[in-house]
Symmetry: C3
Amino acid sequence: MKNFTSVYDIDNLQEIIAKTLKIKENPLENPTKGNGKTIGLVFLNSSLRTRLSSQIAAQNLGLNVLTLNAAQEAWNLEFADGTVMNGDTVEHIKDAIEVLNQYCDIIAVRCFAGMKSKEDDVNESILSQFLKHAKVPVISLESATRHPLQSLADCITITENWKENRKPKVVLTWAPHIKPIAQAVGNSFTEWMQQMDVDFVIANPEGYDLDKNFTKDTKVLHNQDEALKDADFIYVKNWSSFEEYAVMPKVDENWMLTNEKLELTNNAKVMHCLPVRRNLELSDEVMDGENSIIYQQAKNRIFSAQAVFSEILDEINSKN
Amino acid sequence: MKNFTSVYDIDNLQEIIAKTLKIKENPLENPTKGNGKTIGLVFLNSSLRTRLSSQIAAQNLGLNVLTLNAAQEAWNLEFADGTVMNGDTVEHIKDAIEVLNQYCDIIAVRCFAGMKSKEDDVNESILSQFLKHAKVPVISLESATRHPLQSLADCITITENWKENRKPKVVLTWAPHIKPIAQAVGNSFTEWMQQMDVDFVIANPEGYDLDKNFTKDTKVLHNQDEALKDADFIYVKNWSSFEEYAVMPKVDENWMLTNEKLELTNNAKVMHCLPVRRNLELSDEVMDGENSIIYQQAKNRIFSAQAVFSEILDEINSKN
Amino acid sequence: MKNFTSVYDIDNLQEIIAKTLKIKENPLENPTKGNGKTIGLVFLNSSLRTRLSSQIAAQNLGLNVLTLNAAQEAWNLEFADGTVMNGDTVEHIKDAIEVLNQYCDIIAVRCFAGMKSKEDDVNESILSQFLKHAKVPVISLESATRHPLQSLADCITITENWKENRKPKVVLTWAPHIKPIAQAVGNSFTEWMQQMDVDFVIANPEGYDLDKNFTKDTKVLHNQDEALKDADFIYVKNWSSFEEYAVMPKVDENWMLTNEKLELTNNAKVMHCLPVRRNLELSDEVMDGENSIIYQQAKNRIFSAQAVFSEILDEINSKN
């Protein structure tokens, strides 16, 4: 694995899932694998789970960790090429990346969608600079359009919770929010489910269809009740409109996941990447109920990170 | 020791003081005791001493440390149960705690009094959520009403500085300030002194009496000079009114500790938990004088933290 | 080496350059040298390179690292002696330093010029407090008037890039900026070049002469083209006026370093301490061109820090 920014960096999904579950059984099996190597965790945005789980994963492998809250601790970054930097920005992102090249063996970066320019976000205006200028492996800690470490953890969590001898039905359902939120988690979960042996459906209101480049031939329903029917797993997540970018078209029905809606399902397990807005995206009763596997999902973030760091270390070591 | 949020989590105060002094003699005696375990240090408020001393204590025990500046690095937290989260808050504290449960073997948290609602503060509205939802031991790094790691360090410091064959007289004296400050340090020091073999007196202006639930039958004087007479230790600290919550009733006398006032005492040692406002709470001459044991007190924060982390690790290990 | 705040803390420059280059060959040669010792990295200002390279250097030596973003994570600091602290400041710098004395074996601090009072900056109003109150070695991570770890890295970089049997011509050239910037890097580079076996010239517009206490008898030209002639190394850096302190006198010529100007030189290598404002201080073509050794310079920050930490540890160990 050269970089890790999407499911397409994985050769064999079943194999990495198996490896990750093995790591979960014994996270301290390779405590010196990363010794003498340094991973830089660069946060351009807030983070709780990703921040902590990545640190734990790195520690489990004996990697040195450098955490940089870029905005607060370093310099205001310029992202546009060719600019005369006579404004508020103090350091060009490409220079920051070139310096990280000198200091780190692996660069991991969180760079959310700006939600202002559809073109910038679709083109991954920030992550693409890391991929262009980094001379060491790059790991996405969530970028404008994807959240692959989350998606790998999601696959692990579904695998752990499915013992039946048939494909589970997995529904990604849109949920209400008060602010325009990126499509990254929805896109990413979709891509990974397309490669899993599941029956996958997306439910969202009219006007909220995800980018066709991600959904491809996945079935998209605009009726939540219909989608939830017989579901084995429900993934709850808000996103804003892709077509009319970052806009929030009015939704008449109540899409918040409640126990009443859960009754439509096959006693479905409920998932969410967190943070979640309680009683807006889903009700307290669902969040705190026994169908929720949301905290287990959060825990699996450690192991998805550790599996990816481990694969990347294998690649680095194979070159030495 | 299951949790550590007050003196009531200590079985035997003399024993833990002895253990702490032993740790101080050789802080690196158990450098692998915490190996493979992770402590999360969660700061909802500013911290210098607690932040650094806790990290050193953890390192001395071989514990992995995750530090989270919750407000700046993670998400804006919701504290109210049952709320429809359609405002500024992004993650409910109980979900953050449940995630910390997945990532940490010990959770340590700093959550100051909000100084807005007496009821919230008295009921430890934040710490209580940690105690309710945490599935791992919880350590207070100062909460709304107590600062127990400070108080343990204070007990150590007094013990180190008292060699006579009689009870020392210890005075907790109120000091001026310009803002309404919590009663946590005062309450906490009071509770611990009540269990120490000392003659303990509190001095504060009228209107500044601490919560009776903490002071109990401790003598409270409203005349500073009278209280300071023959004191062996003086603990200087501001707090705002408890009765008329967070208000600062006018004080006519000057309660700032000066060398002149020190002359009333038995050449008393002077203590303060820091940060201190010089020439407001106490004078430069006292702070920089030879009676001050304030920096020694700060140093002892390392060992009080290490003693508590060590006790908690014993408890964790006894269950495995 | 007792402290490290300028070139005058170095006994033998050639010797430390040789040691640093040796460390660069094998940074992990002494991985336990710092074991059981703690370095506190105190940032009163932003930092990318210094923050990360210092952490790596410390890790390479097995030092424990405590990083403190003083403004955001701790308390608002008071710097004036004797003040009645009844305003916005919560902790006096000298008390913070005395606490750091208790917690750290080495204190490293970044404290930029305030650019408001020439007297405060010239007198190193903050660093001087560290030097006065610290009881452990103090390392400057850039102060009001100097940036010595950068300068040592600069010396390494020049040494690595010069194989000819004659003195190289090194030109420190002023560059445009939009804000008044400190003279620290310029001063510091000047001091170190004065001790290197190089032919050193400073070029800056009229009104931008550096403090004579730093430039001494170094040649200062006000004509950039004349200075660049036959240069082997060009160090690009902005600073504001020293004489008319922190003012930016109007400059008619364009001092931005371009490829056209590079043609005046002896195919000079280009240096900059970063962060750099592209197309203002120097052009994209220079920054991304083959004459730039700027990222190599950034990498050498690791080894200059490691060499200094190592010398300081030798001093500490020699006392034990």
